[in-house]
Symmetry: C2
Subunit: 342 residues, 2 copies
């Protein structure tokens, strides 16, 4: 049987295997340090569509098709899709995935959605509910700026604490089949996150909003499994950026965990801050999703990393709550990814 | 082991048991035909808060507290919460549940959220991931009108095909514990839904948008389990209303299923169309959630119904997609609820 561990965690008795992963990104991401690793870099920010939202949907459908192709599967072999995005009522997902005609569990976890979708897909596979489940998410700089901040033509200035929403969609397929050592990585454990609110009200400093949630999930994970940061080759958050990383180091240290040696952040990996003018780093659901697919998973497959703690982070913000004076709480969902040899 | 059945469905080997259910509603719902069954009828539409969104959050936190109390449980006994609402970035859920300090899986399934949350909570329990999992959702007439249609002070006229968003929050707790015949009902099977788009573009005729999805899920369910409508004491959709019901009857009949004898719709049960001026019926995540908690589950507990097919329905609409000329696709998630004696 699968096991509840500690206060918040899960250990998979027979860990589901990540069979395939795919990443579709925009031009800016293609020009960044991870550019060569993505499956497809699209130079047309509109992806051939008429609106930013349609562009994001198109990108998500491209990622879904790509991951199925890499897995050598057809749409109808897929049992369930776990998917979401940043937009109100997750319309990028709705219009991006509806042509697949497979059951969809719609998710909203802000930028933590890759963690939530991969976790639920893994639970579906490990629980005997699915042979093949997809986790997928996306974000688009232009649709996100329109949704959360200012219309692009305003040309507003961005403070140095701001992050840049990644144009990207990442998808993975997990399976309960015995892959006999093949496949990319095993999902061995999970620690879903609580909503954590430190009262931060600055929507242009998302790192500060999310760092307390990342700290809560990481420390709870270590406690639940009685592990230390040294038990991981890498501890990788989603999109804290350089500002959030500093806060995370301080907060985890207060809890007795020094994660400086192991810590990486997808938002700090995806852009070059010196040449790309992205300030604190990348963000958005797509940030951790495409970094997982293009950079983290290949390293695990090549056995450069044997065990990774992957913690996509989300800022639970809407313009409505923000304009009504509410704070921006955070959430972070952690997964343990290991090499396929046990 | 739990089983994948047919094309889209799940059968639970050891069906999780619904331990407790709670419903909190507004004054109009309290005056309707189900009024006497709700746990709490709040006469202050703002629930003592300053904004409609805060009111909805407060209502959701009240439902969570109530269901825990009815189950005789404390917050920290709850493993996971599966929750969502209609608002952009599900802020009613975020601000309503964060004080509970338990892991939250944020969902967006439009008005089908009670189906999605109860299904995932049941999968978590049956898969060995949770001893106690909560499914919860809410909607509020005023926050929904503000989000999707017109500000209330406009006093706009509503066509007769329009439904009225229910002010209500419903919550259930499921468990994998052996309840020895106690508890309210067993969740024995599930058929998660596909996104179905018939190209309907009328956001004031949600019944027409959702009926094709309800038909797709119901017919797929019957096929997957090789059952007929007669195998159910009731087949209950979420919020099709009187307009959507007629379309559903036509569509299912085309597929060879006559569900007229078994069919009920939560949206048609919750208001009295003659005296309450709600036009086609009730809608919103809260509609199926509070009808489940206050009306459907008690009937199963009393063994008036032995097996029910419960199909919350959702219209995947946002103002952004709507204003960009997109259609309103639907989704419907079906659950089989049975008496606790097998």
């Amino acid at each position: 049987m699968n096991q509840r561990i500690g206060v918040n965690s899960i250990a998979f008795e027979k860990p589901p295997v990540i069979l395939a992963a795919a990443s579709i990104v925009g031009e800016k991401e293609g020009q960044g340090p991870l550019g060569q690793f993505f499956d497809h870099v699209e130079t047309d920010l509109k992806f051939g569509m008429n609106t930013w939202e349609e562009a994001e949907s198109k990108m998500q459908s491209m990622a879904a098709k790509k991951v199925l192709k890499k897995a050598g599967m057809k749409d109808d072999q897929l049992d369930y899709i776990f998917a979401g995005d940043l937009l109100g009522q997750i319309i990028a997902t709705t219009f991006g995935l509806m042509q697949m005609e497979r059951p969809v569990f719609g998710l909203y976890g802000a930028c933590s959605t890759m963690g939530e979708s991969l976790m639920l897909a893994s639970m579906a596979a490990a629980g005997g509910f699915a042979h093949y489940a997809m986790g997928i998410t996306s974000s688009h700089f232009a649709s996100a700026e329109k949704q959360f901040r200012f219309p692009l033509p305003y040309g507003n200035q961005r403070p140095l604490s701001a992050t840049w929403t990644v144009v990207g969609s990442g998808a993975v397929i997990v399976t309960d089949e015995d892959m006999k050592g093949k496949g990319i990585a095993r999902v061995t454990a999970a620690t879903p996150g609580r909503i954590v609110d430190f009262g931060v009200k600055d929507s242009l400093n998302m790192g500060a909003c999310m760092a307390p949630a990342a700290c809560d999930t990481i420390c709870q994970h270590m406690l639940d499994f009685n592990r230390q940061p040294e038990d991981y080759d890498a501890i990788i958050t989603g999109d804290l950026g350089s500002v959030g990383q500093k806060i995370l180091f301080d907060l985890t240290e207060e809890q007795g965990y020094d994660i400086r040696k192991q810590h990486l952040d997808c938002g700090m990996l995806i852009y070059d801050p010196k040449t790309q003018d992205t300030h604190a780093g990348g963000s958005g659901c797509g940030c951790s999703a495409v970094t997982l697919a293009a950079y983290i998973l290949p390293k695990i497959k090549r056995k450069e990393w044997k065990r990774v703690l992957f913690i996509p982070t989300g800022a639970l913000l809407s313009t409505v709550s923000f304009n009504e004076g509410q704070s921006v709480p955070g959430i972070a969902h952690a997964l343990v990814l290991e090499t396929t040899e046990s």
